[in-house]
């Protein structure tokens, strides 16, 4: 096991490992809570539910984009990279 920095993470957030761990932990908690509420994750609900054409999967995907686009914009606003 080792530390493998991401090429896009470093220009944006710097080389601090503590910051990466803090933000990644916070995101992982949100991801798990969201999956708990929705009843599944990307693979468990979106892909397997979408394969059987369940409306739940497509509502979930709409929700992911509704949450993800503004969040990514907030993290990267005003940046060219």
């Amino acid at each position: 096991m080792r530390w493998r920095p991401d090429t896009q993470w470093q220009p944006r957030f710097g080389t601090s490992r503590g910051l990466r761990l803090a933000i990644a932990f916070f995101g992982a908690v949100l991801v798990q809570v969201g999956a708990g509420i929705a009843g599944g994750c990307t693979s468990g609900l979106a892909i397997s539910g979408g394969s059987v054409l369940a409306p739940a999967a497509f509502l979930f995907m709409a929700g992911i984009f509704a949450g993800g686009i503004p969040t990514a914009w907030l993290w990267y606003r005003g940046r060219a990279d």
Binding site: M1, R2, W3, G27, L30, I37, S48, L59, G63, A66
Partner: protein
């Protein structure tokens, strides 16, 4: 034992395909929401159609007796998706890729990712009685599929869905060609 063996084999293939598709990188996941890298969308759209055809074929051939259908509850699915999307665009993780990244030996996936999943499960367990009942009051329609709702042939619905997906994949390919 047979079930554990199957789960291990399928998990192995899933982890391998996540790795090969390059979905185990922070940038790959986050850039979907910045419309800069549609790899995740291409992966998902393709797997939806291939999976749909495989599942329906298995049902028709009698290989699959029961197919699990997730319950649709409009607000529950939507709100869960929004929280999930915020987390995904923040950490560059989704639960499956955390495990795949841990398998790649990435330290942040072990220390932050897996611990976050564990803590998130506890947080959700505590919040569940407060959040879920009010959300489930709107549009909880149970374990339905578009095939069941429309009463059409599953193959007809799959054909229409497949056409939409192919169109989306072509549009993504065109947009990515323009950018490069």
């Amino acid at each position: 034992m047979l079930d554990i063996g199957r789960a291990l084999l399928l998990g192995l293939l899933f982890g391998w395909s996540l790795h090969k598709a390059g979905l185990t990188h922070y940038a790959r996941i986050v850039n979907v929401y910045r419309f800069r890298d549609m790899t995740v969308m291409r992966f998902m759209l393709t797997s939806l159609v291939v999976g749909g055809i495989a599942i329906q074929t298995s049902v028709d051939l009698g290989l699959a007796t029961s197919v699990p259908v997730p319950p649709t509850s409009i607000l529950v699915n939507l709100v869960g998706g929004v929280v999930f999307g915020v987390g995904m665009a923040t950490a560059g993780y989704c639960p499956g890729t955390i495990v795949a990244e841990a398998g790649e030996g990435r330290l942040d996936a072990w220390l932050a990712g897996l611990c976050g999943l564990f803590v998130g499960a506890i947080v959700f367990g505590l919040l569940q009685p407060v959040i879920i009942p009010p959300l489930a009051r709107v549009g909880a329609i149970g374990r339905v599929t578009f095939t069941g709702l429309t009463g059409a042939s599953p193959w007809l619905v799959l054909l229409m869905f497949g056409q939409v997906v192919v169109l989306m994949l072509l549009l993504i390919a065109r947009a990515e060609r323009k950018k490069s």
